[in-house]
Symmetry: C2
Subunit: 150 residues, 2 copies
DNA sequence: ATCACTTCTATTGTATGCAATTCGATTGTA
DNA sequence: TACAATCGAATTGCATACAATAGAAGTGAT
């Protein structure tokens, strides 16, 4: 049953990470045309999801929730600010801390985004049962991979 | 049981793509220190896996196997050539086609990479059963997402 | 209060990724 | 055989990602 090939572990077809890597890229690619209509990218979309729910978050909180470091997050938030969706301002009590807040225009974008989850679901062919299993495993995995460093 | 929140579909915690995206990034990040020792990146690693197995592949074949387009693949292969692991040459019969071939030095790298899969497995906390289920679902999903365009 | 230490964000440098376009080579067809 | 259409890579432009570093702002122990 098992391959006795010395190099079996180095075959693409035996990798777990490779399909993970490909699926993630491909799914994000499916978002692109939908988010183009809103004028945002996928990374901006997930950042906005966090902000839509919490209204106001520090860079550190955002980084922790999205698993992104400041090298990615800083320019990302500057762009959302330029686009007029958020405001960035330093904390009075602690000048190191930068708090990002969604404004009215940012909250309006949420309405336009309402149809996105459904459209994505319909163009990703995955049986409901598999989707549930996948979500369970990935969420646990994400917690293990991201939680340990905090 | 179900949330009646109008915006439930736009919550991070209800996304399937988000943990997929995060897990893919985090797992690739786990590869980095291991591949640093070999002097290659993750994308170069998967390209080499394909080449280690097939010795010689055209850019089109590589792009199809790895789900990467020429904008990513062309500079990637040039770097592997500069590093001395592969040779790139145009097809005699069809000058449009560029064939990439691993050379001796490239094949030697395979030996050094033998320990990588095991080391990755040991630092990704996932029960065997979940790993098997995850692999099954992701492989099917990858086929659906990447196959339809060909 | 001082100074080493920690924290939080920003910056720099490198490597992807992909859409859109270009360009030379090949093919199919009248 | 012209020639439009197609094909396979390469190029361009933009947006991530992250490691490493910097730098300004707090903290804590003495």
């Amino acid at each position: 049953m098992e391959s006795c090939d010395r190099y079996a572990g180095l075959k693409l077809e035996n990798q777990l990470c490779f399909p993970l890597y490909v699926c993630a890229k491909e799914v994000v690619r499916r978002y692109r045309p939908l988010l183009d209509e809103l004028g945002i990218t996928y990374t901006q979309y997930i950042a906005l999801m966090a902000l839509w729910e919490h209204r106001s978050l520090t860079m550190k909180e955002l980084g922790s929730m999205l698993c992104l470091d400041s090298g990615t997050l800083t320019p990302l938030m500057k762009k959302l600010e330029e686009a007029g969706y958020v405001e960035r301002c330093r904390d009075r009590d602690d000048e190191r801390v930068l708090t990002v807040t969604v404004n009215e225009k940012g909250m309006e974008l949420r309405e336009k985004a309402l149809s996105v989850p459904g459209e994505i679901a319909s163009c990703i062919p995955l049986p409901v049962e598999d989707a549930i299993t996948l979500a369970r495993i990935l969420r646990k995995m994400m917690a293990d991979l991201c939680g340990e460093e905090q």
